[in-house]
């Protein structure tokens, strides 16, 4: 079992991430599976009854397409093919702020320490840190900054609505 960061702690992951090639059988067979979004789109009717279920999106898949089905998922995982690809920073904010998703939003793929502070601000609450990196070490970045200017998921008001002289 792999260690992940969830709610600012390193814990053992209960979920199994299925690859992009996984088929319906594998999805139905696996307990607590995080399935690729394409599989969900293809076999929605058979998968709807599975509980709990997670889904993951590639960085070019839009959360709008998932919005109506969010109630089926306890986890939405967003894949970072490379850590410099910031598309899912927007996805996470949209999931939280526009679609009011309250389940877990997990960063998967090329996930490393120096992105975590930003990710957390966008609404991520779980991080599957790259296998060759230390999740305990990565925790430290969640507190990189003690003050932030912008409103985001973690802080609903921008600093200009919070400043006290």
């Amino acid at each position: 079992m792999r260690a992940i960061i969830k709610n600012d702690q390193v814990i053992d992951d209960q979920w199994t991430l299925l690859s992009a090639e996984a088929d319906l059988d594998e999805a139905l067979r696996t307990e607590q599976a995080i399935i690729p979004f394409a599989l969900w789109q293809e076999h929605k009717s058979q998968l709807q009854a599975v509980k709990p279920l997670g889904v993951w999106l590639e960085s070019n898949q839009a959360v709008e397409d998932l919005a109506e089905d969010l109630a089926y998922f306890s986890v939405v995982a967003l894949n970072f093919p490379v850590f410099t690809d910031g598309r899912h920073f927007s996805s996470a904010r949209l999931l939280r702020e526009r679609y009011a998703y309250t389940g877990e939003i997990r960063a998967i793929g090329d996930v490393a320490r120096d992105q975590l502070f930003f990710m957390q601000r966008c609404g991520f609450d779980a991080y599957a840190i790259r296998a060759d990196r230390c999740p305990v070490d990565a925790l430290q970045s969640l507190t990189d900054f003690s003050v932030t200017y912008q409103a985001a998921y973690d802080q609903s008001l921008p600093l200009y609505r919070r400043r006290t002289a």
Binding site: F89, S90, D144, F145, Y149, R161
Partner: protein
Amino acid sequence: MYIYDNYDQQIVEDRVRQFRDQTRRYFAGELTEDEYLPLRLQNGLYVQRHAPMLRIAVPYGLLASRQLRKLADITRKYDKGYAHITTRTNVQLNWPALENVPDILEELASVQMHAIQTSGNCIRNTTTDQFAGVARDESIDPRPWCEIIRQWSTFHPEFARLPRKFKIAVNGCASDRAAIEVHDIGLEAVHNDAGELGFRVLVGGGLGRTPIVGSCINEFVPWQHLLGYLESILRVYNRFGRRDNKFKARIKILVKALTPTVFAERVAEEWAHLKDGPITLTEAEVQRVSKHFTDPAYLELSDQDQELAALDAEHPGFARWRSRNVVAHKKPGYAAVTLSLKKTGIAPGDVTEKQLDKIADLADQYSFSEVRNTHEQNMVLADVEQRKLFELWEVLREHGFATPNIGLLSDIICCPGGDFCALANAKSIPVAEAIQERFDNLDYLFDIGDLDLNISGCMNACGHHHIGHIGILGVDKKGEEFYQVSLGGSSGREASLGKILGPSFAQDAMPDVISKLIDVYIEQRTEEEHFIDTYKRIGIDKFKERVYASNN
């Protein structure tokens, strides 16, 4: 000038700590080269030909004298005693050692400075008019808006890993000295018919490999919605901008692919959600920030036209300097003075530590302790009493800042090029120098008149060659350094991109090529025409004929 409060200070101090640790992890092998790269880039740290290059942010070009002294100090302690003013009004050090950079950042933080987001794929330093707040033709002071944008864009969590770099410029004047038409976002502060303040928004301008003039996607965004609208644009870009090809990743490519109309619709859809939310700006915040940009304690003076004219008559050098380097000021009895960093033989935009200290003294003595960097790579004392101009001129001459060439051919905008930059195809500084040497006769320079000459060492266009009346671009021709010349670019209102003259030239041919171009202009011009006007009237052919005919 904006003064940090505890919040602002905390953020730069947290950054120093974070970067110190990132650098430690890099040296300890916990971060690979590839992982450290975007982290150091977003802190302005490039690794270049000789050493890392550190780009220090100068938000919208404004510097206080104590900051200048700190910069002078840093160049002495950690570098080789000089600094470079960039075309985006930042300050660059060419020789710091990587392991010293955290200490440099700590020193910068002690004077409310930083290197945050001066490089990398993020929102960069917001730029504006170097005469903001003092220009006679200004309708709205852009500086408070620049600061509001600076704070919004600093460590914006959603836009920390954009497809590519992102540059915003703001203008509030009849003329456009901020080149807003060639930025990713150009903002023009305007009043609508009802007298309300808002912003005209241009998107998708830019130079580099694919130069494009920006398109207006909204004629009037009320000021309360400025940040919400910017956030909408950035979100559309972050999600849909291309990431498969670095050369197609700027927002201009997305705007072009979608068409400006469709792009505007996408932004409007996003904005429909954000509008009137918490990101809406408050009157209180705008006032809080604006308080830092109120007029300094100006004296009640009157214009010194007669006195200055008398001095002109007596001292032709002063007259020349005044006609080029001094501009009108909104306040009677004051003037804005540009210090030329374009003395022949000195790399355009370079200043020594002694000069930095001297400029700090002059700022204290003559201009309320502030200076501005210009995107033309000069510096400005914006609030000088006219009655002290003569005395100031004498001091400036002594220190090498009084070259009366602002806006003339020898006021060359030039990137660091092959002498420093690892991306360069060719050197740019020696070309600038050779041209300056060729045109060192002041009478002739004055006779040629207004002319923007820009040089970039490669198509990244840091020297903005596309918008020079004469643009020079370093190209690689079978491993040798050559130079391509373009004509007819211009920044400002109705910006235009230069047209390529023809096959490129060897470095030693460049002064002759420029001479021939100037000869054609002198022969063809009417009395009131500047170079660009003549070019627009007669077109490129006559220039082309002259330059290439004599090549045979």
